[in-house]
Symmetry: none
Subunit: 415 residues, 2 copies
């Protein structure tokens, strides 16, 4: 079964809003094991809308349209589908009643409660279509079946579209799918995307079921392994050897195989398991690392305090970095990073400390110490590891990568 999404709305084409509906529906289709090959966005223009509906009907089994169901003359999604299918629009009495109720209920005692003539347009349905009730607005959805194909029409606002999809469309589509899909996400840190793919090129090339799909994220590489089977147990059986093989090849570079788990959560759990507390000493990242760690709920068990020591004076005052070290090696040096990590742990009485000092740019670089040079020091119970990194990109990117590498260094040190 192939699915095609058509998002309708000039506000999308103007870039006024980002198309989160497309992401949501794509994810749901992947969950259902459908193949989604095209996402189309088109404005509220009858000619162009009819063109994309016709193309979609030609090449896809299920077409999901969102948007263009409002009460104004601009909104023409239903009208365009009806035109392409050569069907009439007829008044749906139940929808009419619900719209009437909605206005009465919502605007109780307010002015401007009158249903305008426009609103009745929303109660029109395509002949022989299934009308889907909208619990969160006045635009009903609908399903039109024709020659073993389905056209699904949904309202554009996510707060109306999503509940309607969950309640009515997902179960409708599930009946069309007889396979079960199970997937695992293997998350890797510390090696680049092309290196990671090269390492498993043979697996990627011979993949069929399960499939292996790589996703690069800033400083990380994720592989999604998906198996299709008749039941969940069988899907897990198919997944397991491939997942094991990836663990064989990437070893410690894999930080999790749990979809929702982030790098900072993995690090936090390692700390909690060991009953270790953590502190931080940040120079060029200026709080970003700690800010990310603090995004984990309940982090107060492991993190009590952190130091943002942007100036040399602050590095000496709070972390006890020696003046001689700064004079001899500079603030951006392995030696300073090491002293920062040692001093932070001592000052905060923490078991572990992460320190970052580097040149994020755009200025401040020299031939010996170019922009992008960052030293990351990780202190676990007095044992310090320092990593010299050379990052590319603008100030923000250098700082983003520094944070990820610091978290990864701590993860490896705790293992």
């Amino acid at each position: 079964m192939t699915v095609e999404l058509i998002s309708v709305g000039t506000e999308l084409l103007m870039g006024n809003i980002v198309n989160t509906n497309a992401q949501y529906l794509s994810r749901k289709c992947a969950e259902l094991g459908f193949s989604l090959y095209f996402q189309i966005t088109v404005g509220d223009n009858e000619g162009r809308l009819c063109e994309v509906i016709e193309t979609a009907l030609h090449r896809s089994d299920i077409i999901i349209l969102t948007g263009g169901l409002g009460p104004t003359q601009d909104d023409i999604t239903k009208e365009s589908v009806a035109k392409v299918l050569k069907r009439n629009l007829v008044m749906d009495e139940e929808s009419k009643r619900l719209i009437d109720d909605y206005f009465k209920f919502r605007f109780q005692g307010e002015k401007n409660t009158i249903v305008t003539e426009n609103n009745w347009k929303q109660a029109l349905k395509i002949e022989d279509s299934i009308v889907i009730k909208n619990d969160n607005g006045t635009a009903p959805g609908s399903i039109v079946e024709i020659n073993n194909k389905s056209i699904i029409i949904l309202p554009g606002p996510p707060a109306e579209m999503k509940p309607m999809f969950e309640q009515h469309i997902f179960p409708y589509l599930k009946k069309k799918q007889n396979k079960t899909f199970v997937s695992k996400m293997i998350k890797i840190c510390g090696i680049g995307e092309s290196r990671a793919e090269t390492d498993i090129l043979d697996l990627i090339e011979k993949q069929s079921n399960p499939t292996i799909a790589p996703y690069a994220k800033n400083g990380e590489v994720h592989f999604r392994i998906t198996a299709a089977a008749d039941c969940e147990a069988e899907a897990h059986q198919l997944l397991s050897p491939v997942v094991n093989e990836l663990y064989q090849r990437f070893g410690e570079n894999i930080y999790t195989s749990i979809e929702e788990e982030t790098l900072e959560e993995v690090v936090a759990h390692l700390l909690i398991d060991k009953k270790y507390t953590l502190t931080t000493a940040e120079s060029c990242t200026g709080g970003m690392l700690t800010g990310r760690i603090v995004n984990i709920p309940g982090v107060s068990d492991i993190l009590k305090e952190g130091f943002i020591t942007y100036s040399n004076e602050a590095k000496m005052k709070y972390l006890g970095v020696k003046k001689e070290t700064l004079d001899q090696y500079g603030a951006v040096s392995s030696q300073t990073a090491q002293e920062m990590a040692l001093g932070a742990a001592e000052a905060a009485e923490a078991d572990a400390a992460l320190a970052i000092t580097g040149i994020a740019g755009p200025d401040g670089g020299t031939k010996d110490k170019p922009v992008g040079l960052v030293y990351i020091a990780c202190n676990v119970k007095g044992h310090v590891t320092v990593k010299e990194c050379h990052f590319k990109g603008n100030r923000q990117k250098v700082r983003d990568q520094s944070v990820i590498y610091a978290l990864d260094l701590l993860r490896r040190s705790l293992k």
Copy 2:
């Protein structure tokens, strides 16, 4: 001139990422005064990719493709464009050299530094195309001109695509537009989107030239005012009364009308003008506020150090918050926020200090102090203003909003 966007990437069709590139490019095309009628998303599949490129060439003047320029076998955007145009791919020696440099530089002295065979694929260019250098990655972009049409190929990662678009593609496209478009971005902080829109509904309703387009960002509202004219002077003349009217209505809530200027930059400039230094004391934001301020190059003139005081002990130890204050009013209170802001400035010997303490959730809320309650204190030369905020949304959103409100509070205090 009509533009069509083609986003390439299976990760978009799987719903793993949201297509922010489409929004960004659509907005830029609107700014340039081009008509964008179709946004297409397609996977890394040659047949389907060629199909959409052919369709786009048929109906649009400018085609912008993003994604599918990576080093793996999956990445086939250039190959597909070459196939449709019946052109060859040839090695671009300059790109090859840059990729070689990139790897040498980045992985200096590390193992696994070898450029894999895959990477050279990125140095291939379509015959007779203009190669666009990528300052933030290894995939160059390109422009192919054919029969008065332009095909523009850009890398998928936003951090690579956006700078390339700004620097090279925007000026290239601007030359194709004979109307001059000038726009101003009015950036507002401290009032909500619907309130802001209601305040200028009359202006929005009667708009034609200049146009007024609202953009809501987390905690901020931006209005883009765009005038089209035959020359720049005329466009400015059209803009000015509308911009003045917005300043009349929103007053101090407007923090800038300069497109690139961020809230943290406005605050930094106010501090620099007054020769004031700043420090921070963060609890629930855990470094995010300072991390954002440090994103400004040259921030060392105003910010020397900051305090991440997540625990009560740290609030007492570094900021001198009194135990009685914490016992009597709690860590999340106006009193604690005030003492944090006073203590931080004293400890860091800074002229100004921002302090944040709040309940970001998901746990820790009570009836009296619910999740989303955040106190922000701003100390300028000993004069402290405390703001009690009630934010909505998840942990990340509460923290994001806290950062924006803190910056805005400092901005207003410095004015």
